[in-house]
C-alpha cells in the first residue's frame, strides 16, 4: 500500500473530485492516454494517476507536447502550456495520428459526449432529426469518431447525468460505441470500444455479451432509483448487488485541489450539480 492508498477516504470532496479519482483508477503505469478539447476531468485524472500509482503513464494531449510540464491544469487542454518543456512536439497530421492509428500506442482515450446511448454510441454533432437544420448544432466529432473505430478503449465522463445526455438512441452517431449491441462491432472489424461511463451520479460499464450499458456502482448518497430515473433508457443491472463508488482518499483530494487544479478548471462543465 502506498502513501495515497493508505490515506483515509475523504469526507470533504465534491463529485468532480470523485469522478477524477474513479477515472484515475482506470489508468495503469505504462498506459498511454490521450484527451481532446476542454477535457479538464480527463487531464486531472491523468495527472492524479501519475502523482499516485502510475508515474510512468504516458499522457498525450491531442494537440501538444509529450510529457509537457504544466504546473497545473491550464484553461485549455490543448493550448500552448501543454507544449512547454515537453520532450517532443507532436504534430497532429503526421505524428499524432501515426502514433494513435498504430494499434500499439495510445490505447486509451478519455472524453465527453453530449449524448450517450444504451450501447455507448456517442453524439457530439447535432440534436434533432434534420442533420442539415438541427435543433442544436454541437461542436462536432473532432477526433472522437476516429477513436471510436480504431481499437481504442474509451472512457466517457458525463458531468450532467440526465435523460437528455443518457438517451435510448443518439440523434446522430458521432462515434461508434457498440452500435446495435452484441457483436455488431466485431462484424465491422472494430476492436476496443467504450469501457466505462463515469457520471456525476454513478459508474457504468457494458454487459460483456449484450453490450448494453449497465450500472457498476452508485456514488455515495445516490440511490439506484435516482440513477435509473436520470437515465433515458433501461439501464441494465448487474447480477450481484450494486456497490457504492469508492470515494477519493484525502490525499487524492489534496493533490487535486492543491497541486493539479488550484484554479478549479474541473468545475467548469458541471452546470447543474456538484
Amino acid at each position: 500500500m502506498t502513501d495515497w492508498q493508505n490515506s483515509p477516504a475523504a469526507e470533504d470532496y465534491t463529485v468532480d473530485e470523485l469522478m477524477i479519482a474513479v477515472l484515475a483508477d482506470q489508468f495503469r503505469n505504462g498506459d498511454q492516454c490521450c484527451n481532446g478539447m476542454a477535457s479538464f476531468i480527463p487531464v486531472a485524472a491523468f495527472m492524479l494517476a501519475r502523482l499516485t500509482h502510475a508515474p510512468d503513464l504516458v499522457w498525450l494531449p491531442s494537440s501538444g507536447g509529450l510529457e509537457s510540464r504544466p504546473d497545473r491544469i491550464p484553461a485549455s487542454t490543448l493550448e500552448a502550456p501543454l507544449w512547454r518543456d515537453s520532450i517532443m512536439y507532436i504534430e497532429q497530421y503526421s505524428d499524432f495520428w501515426n502514433f494513435v492509428l498504430n494499434g500499439r500506442w495510445i490505447k486509451k482515450f478519455c472524453v465527453g459526449a453530449a449524448q450517450l446511448d444504451q450501447f455507448g454510441n456517442a453524439n457530439n454533432s447535432v440534436i434533432g432529426d434534420d442533420y442539415h437544420a438541427p435543433r442544436v448544432r454541437l461542436p462536432g466529432t473532432a477526433g472522437l469518431a476516429d477513436m471510436g473505430s480504431i481499437g481504442k478503449k474509451l472512457y466517457y465522463w458525463n458531468p450532467n447525468h440526465s435523460p437528455r445526455s443518457m438517451v435510448e438512441k443518439v440523434d446522430f452517431v458521432s462515434a461508434a460505441g457498440y452500435l446495435n449491441g452484441g457483436d455488431a462491432r466485431e462484424r465491422l472489424g472494430l476492436q476496443g470500444g467504450p469501457q466505462l461511463v463515469v457520471s456525476n451520479l454513478a459508474v457504468m460499464d457494458f454487459h460483456p455479451t449484450s453490450k448494453r450499458m449497465q450500472l457498476r456502482s452508485t456514488h455515495p448518497d445516490v440511490s439506484i432509483g435516482q440513477v435509473t430515473e436520470a437515465t433515458g433508457f433501461e439501464l441494465q443491472m448487474p447480477e450481484s448487488a450494486v456497490p457504492e463508488t469508492r470515494p477519493p482518499t484525502q490525499k487524492q483530494v489534496r493533490l487535486i485541489r492543491e497541486t493539479i487544479d488550484p484554479d478549479n478548471m474541473r468545475k467548469r462543465e458541471f452546470h447543474r450539480k456538484s
Binding site: A38, S76, A80, S125, G189
Partner: protein, 297 residues
C-alpha cells in the same frame, strides 16, 4: 525567386465568391485573423470553409454571411464555448456542414495534396458520418482480404489561408519552433492557391540559417503579407497567447445580432490597418498581456 509580397487587399482579391477556402485554426489557436477580417471587408460570399477545428474566425465569417458551407471536424472556442453565430446559421440551414472526423479530413486533404483520387481510413467506421456523406466517403473492400476501409475522396481547396512566424519576400515560410498545428501539415499542400500572413518578413539569408524551420517553399506560396500579431485574438505559440478578454467580449455579444454587428463594425470594418485593429483591441496593454501567455483565461 519570384516576389510574393503584397497587401491584404490584393492577397484576398485572389479569393473568388463561391471558393472553397481552407483555414488554419484550432479552437483558440493560430488562425490567420487578418485574412479572415479582409474576407469580411471585401464582402466575399458563398465561400465553403475547410477547417479542422474552427474557432472565432468561423463565428465571424458566419455572422458576416461570408460562408454557406463548412467541411470540418469541429467548431468550438473550447473554454469560451460554442460559436453561437455559426451555430445559429447551421440551425437555420444557412450553412451546410460536411462533418468529418480528423482522420477523414486529413485523408481527404492528403489525397488532394498527393494527387490521389482518395486515401483510406479506418476511422469513423460505424458512425453516421459515412452514410451522411456518400459523395465523399465510401466503404471500400480491402483488396487483400481484410476488413473494409473508408475511401475518402480527394479535397482540393481553392485557397488556403495561413499565418506564420517568418517569411522572406519570395514566400519561403518559416515556423518557430516547428510545425505544431494540425492543419499546417497538410492544408496548404492540398490547396490550389496559398495566401500567407507572417509576423515578420526577413531577408532570405536569415531563412538559410535555419532551413529546418521552413515549412513551405516559396514556389507553393501565391501571396504574402507582413502582419504583426496577425493571429490575434488567437494564440500564436511561442510569440503570444490567446486574448481571453477579447474572446469573452465576443462570447458576451455573440448571441445578440445587433451587438454582433456593432462588434464587427468596431473590430473588423472600421480599422483600416493592423495598427488600428490592434488599437481597437486594447493596443499596447493587450499586446503586452498576451505576450505574457496568461494561463488562466
Amino acid at each position: 525567386m519570384q516576389e510574393k509580397l503584397t497587401t491584404l487587399a490584393e492577397a484576398i482579391a485572389l479569393v473568388d465568391d463561391g471558393n472553397v477556402v481552407a483555414l488554419q485554426n484550432m479552437a483558440t489557436q493560430a488562425a490567420p485573423m487578418a485574412l479572415v477580417r479582409e474576407l469580411i471587408r471585401q464582402e466575399k460570399r458563398e465561400l465553403g470553409l475547410v477547417v479542422l477545428v474552427g474557432g472565432m474566425a468561423v463565428d465571424w465569417l458566419a455572422a458576416a454571411g461570408v460562408i454557406n458551407r463548412l467541411i470540418g471536424a469541429a467548431v468550438s472556442m473550447e473554454q469560451f464555448g460554442l460559436c453561437q453565430q455559426y451555430r445559429k446559421a447551421v440551425e437555420a440551414g444557412r450553412i451546410r456542414v460536411e462533418e468529418l472526423s480528423e482522420t477523414l479530413l486529413n485523408a481527404r486533404l492528403g489525397a488532394g495534396a498527393r494527387n490521389l483520387p482518395f486515401l483510406p481510413s479506418r476511422g469513423a467506421i460505424g458512425s453516421d458520418l459515412i452514410a451522411q456523406n456518400p459523395e465523399n466517403l465510401k466503404m471500400l473492400d480491402d483488396p487483400f482480404g481484410g476488413f473494409p476501409v473508408v475511401a475518402c475522396r480527394a479535397l482540393i481547396p481553392d485557397v488556403a489561408l495561413i499565418h506564420a512566424h517568418r517569411a522572406d519576400r519570395y514566400g519561403n515560410i518559416q515556423y518557430e519552433p516547428t510545425v505544431l498545428w494540425p492543419d499546417i501539415g497538410i492544408m496548404p499542400k492540398a490547396a490550389k492557391c496559398v495566401i500567407v500572413t507572417a509576423e515578420e518578413i526577413v531577408d532570405t539569408e536569415v531563412m538559410r540559417r535555419h532551413p529546418d524551420r521552413t515549412i513551405l517553399p516559396g514556389f507553393m506560396v501565391d501571396a504574402l503579407v507582413e502582419v504583426p500579431f496577425g493571429a490575434h485574438p488567437t494564440s500564436f505559440f511561442p510569440n503570444y497567447g490567446y486574448d481571453s478578454r477579447f474572446h469573452r467580449e465576443w462570447t458576451d455579444v455573440s448571441r445578440d445580432d445587433e451587438a454582433v454587428s456593432a462588434f464587427l463594425d468596431r473590430h473588423v470594418l472600421t480599422p483600416s490597418t493592423q495598427e488600428e485593429y490592434l488599437d481597437a483591441a486594447g493596443g499596447v496593454a493587450t499586446l503586452s498581456r498576451i505576450e505574457k501567455w496568461e494561463k488562466r483565461g
